[in-house]
Symmetry: C2
Subunit: 227 residues, 2 copies
DNA sequence: CAAAAAATACTACCATACAAGTATACTAAT
DNA sequence: ATTAGTATACTTGTATGGTAGTATTTTTTG
């Protein structure tokens, strides 16, 4: 059921290991939105005391992945579509700004990283390895942020897009138009190489506007997951 | 020394009250960057047990206001100038995007709010009430975010700009060119009223680019506060 | 006197016990 | 059968004691 492999993780504290395990299970929808989840339940599953579980709960509440109601219970937060759209809006504008910077300051090293990433994306499309594609896609955008020395932007996006990522999990990966996405990635790389900020921003804008899913269909199908 | 007025706050839990007290004291620099701060110390000061203090520490660590070193100690985080500039960058681009939306969707109600806010700003300048000006300034930008239905943007900015706000505390408020700032606010309102997104964005850009302080001077004067 | 070693005093971490509030199941009275 | 009241089984919140690791101070030793 749940991925509870707590032992192999490298973090020092039990609290952080519990946090990571729960976070992954929430985003991957192993822990369903709206599901009740108690300190006792998790502490018994993971064979640790309630204290580190509580502290992990506090962190996850701050990220709006959990909602704690004192003396009542704790619940995996429902997906808020308005929240999702705002997160997409934020992501779009931050990455548009970042890619402009990239056109000015990007070093060759990072361009090579992007190109090899894109190469692997093409292979993954042929292999229909969608999990790997998700990962490469994340890595592609992260690299742009790092290369622009705007690491914090990626941190913000990661925090903002938890709801967005849960929707991406709902939507079948096979439904994505990966050919188009790869074309867009290529266009972004070209613009960075040619140092054309306007072109790069435009490409990024088109790329991230596409993230609006068939939300209404999803909401009908998985009604109980939504607010 | 510290503002430890824990009792009057409305939040339910001790944890949240401790969190708020500490947060305010860190941002206002009552708790100096680099200062050592232990669970025991705070729990005795506030006369609560160590548990809620720990949980408040976890929250503050996530906001990068504290740094916990297991078995060693907990310290108020130093101000990272690169971090500050990235936060400013993020703020600038998010607010530029928000104010464009404002030009399209802003209701009359919010325009009135902005205008009355600006009016109070003028009074506060005459009275040289700089604390009030800070508050009004925050409120001005918050209103734009709310009116654009981009509440989340303001949440992000609040989280991002804790380091920035600590620098603002260092810098003497009297040094601000409030006349210029008020002119810029006026220009922003005008652009929203006339529904001219380009003009609004430009005004906002100029406004938020000014936030780069005399950082190097501050760093010399308060060297121990910086990373 | 100086350097190494041991003792002591810290730290955050975790487990546990109890407290306070809430929801549910059960019982009794109408 | 229905409803009101009560008991019980939950929940999260807080306090406390012990643990393991670290830093400092004291003692010992060369």
């Amino acid at each position: 059921m749940l991925n509870l492999d707590i032992s192999k993780r490298v973090n020092y504290s039990t609290r952080d290991r519990v946090y990571e395990v729960l976070r992954e299970n929430i985003i991957s929808l192993q822990l369903e939105p709206g599901r009740s989840i108690s300190e006792k339940e998790i502490s018994e599953m993971l064979k640790v005391s309630r204290t580190p579980v509580r502290e992990a709960f506090v962190k996850l509440t701050q990220e709006k992945l959990l909602e704690i109601y004192p003396q009542k219970g704790t619940f995996v937060s429902l997906i808020d579509l308005h929240h999702v759209e705002e997160a997409r809006f934020i992501r779009e504008h931050l990455e548009r700004a970042a890619v402009r910077v990239a056109c000015e300051t990007f070093s060759k090293e990072y361009i090579i990283q992007l190109e090899s990433n894109l190469h692997m994306q093409k292979i993954s499309v042929e292999e229909k390895n969608y999990a790997k594609l998700f990962e490469l896609d994340e890595n592609f955008h992260h690299t742009i942020a790092i290369g622009s020395e705007k690491e914090l932007i990626w941190t913000v996006i990661q925090h903002m897009t938890t709801h967005l990522n849960r929707i991406r999990m709902l939507s079948l990966a096979a439904n994505y138009n990966w050919d188009l996405i790869l074309l867009q990635h290529e266009r972004i790389i070209e613009a960075i190489k040619k140092q054309e900020p306007d072109e790069a921003e435009k490409a990024m804008e088109e790329h991230l506007k596409k993230l609006t899913f068939e939300q209404e269909e999803l909401k009908k199908e998985y009604e109980k997951y939504f607010k």
